[in-house]
């Protein structure tokens, strides 16, 4: 199960597992992001290519208006997946 919470400081917090069963719900939530913001992955345990697809489409949409997503606090496994997918080149990661 994936939880997405919009924090008061503009950060978006993801918690749980971002697998293919969560894509519809996540897409709906991510459509609310209309300006540059930080995604905090501190509580995100898992992501598959389905989740990566939602992130990529959001980044592309924001990029069209000169905005972007920054991603922080990735665990080691998710950091590896980002590297394998080349996402470390299309997202600012800290």
């Amino acid at each position: 199960m994936l939880h997405i919470r919009f924090g008061e400081n503009g950060e978006v917090h993801l918690t749980g597992r971002f697998d293919a069963s969560q894509v519809d719900k996540a897409t709906e939530e991510f459509e609310k992001i209309t300006a540059s913001c930080t995604l905090n992955f501190a509580e995100l345990e898992y992501i598959s290519s389905a989740g990566l697809g939602v992130l990529l489409m959001t980044q592309r949409r924001l990029n069209d208006s000169g905005q972007s997503l920054k991603i922080v606090n990735l665990n080691k496994n998710i950091r590896d997946v980002f590297r394998y997918a080349g996402f470390d080149k299309v997202f600012e990661i800290a």
Binding site: S21, S48, L52, L56, A85, G86
Partner: protein, 134 residues
């Protein structure tokens, strides 16, 4: 251990529990959970997406032989779909040229040491081997 799962995305939660049970029963490091879940999810969701004509469940088998972790997915009553022949994804493309699809098999290939595909009697079998570290 092996188990059949309904051909639907909602099966992923049960599959994740199945992976957890396997790791526990073999006293394997929970760090393996991420990669096994990802490998199984990517292949299972491909079967759900592309083999809609089959009404059969998908069988997933996990086993350990020495240092080899063996993952096998069997898809019944389907057309052939050889994952080993899927083209590589260029992950160096700029953002504007990137697409959401096609990454799954690429990630699986990065996480295993061997992939074999077999097709006979309208049955697809994908066998993956991941060498376990000491």
């Amino acid at each position: 251990m092996e188990k059949k799962f309904k051909r639907e995305i909602e099966s992923l939660e049960k599959i994740s529990h199945f992976v957890g049970e396997f790791l526990k029963s073999h006293s394997l490091d929970n760090a393996l959970s991420f990669s096994i879940n990802l490998i199984v999810e990517e292949l299972f969701t491909n079967m759900v997406k592309y083999n809609k004509e089959s009404g059969e469940d998908v069988e997933i088998s996990l086993s350990k032989e020495g240092k080899k972790l063996i993952i096998r997915l069997t898809d019944f009553d389907v057309e052939p779909f050889d994952v080993t022949k899927r083209g590589e994804v260029n992950v160096n493309r700029p953002l504007t040229e990137r697409k959401a699809g096609g990454l799954g098999i690429h990630l699986v290939k990065r996480m295993v040491d061997q992939i074999d595909y077999d097709y006979s009697d309208r049955k697809s079998t994908i066998t993956l081997i991941k060498m376990l570290e000491e």
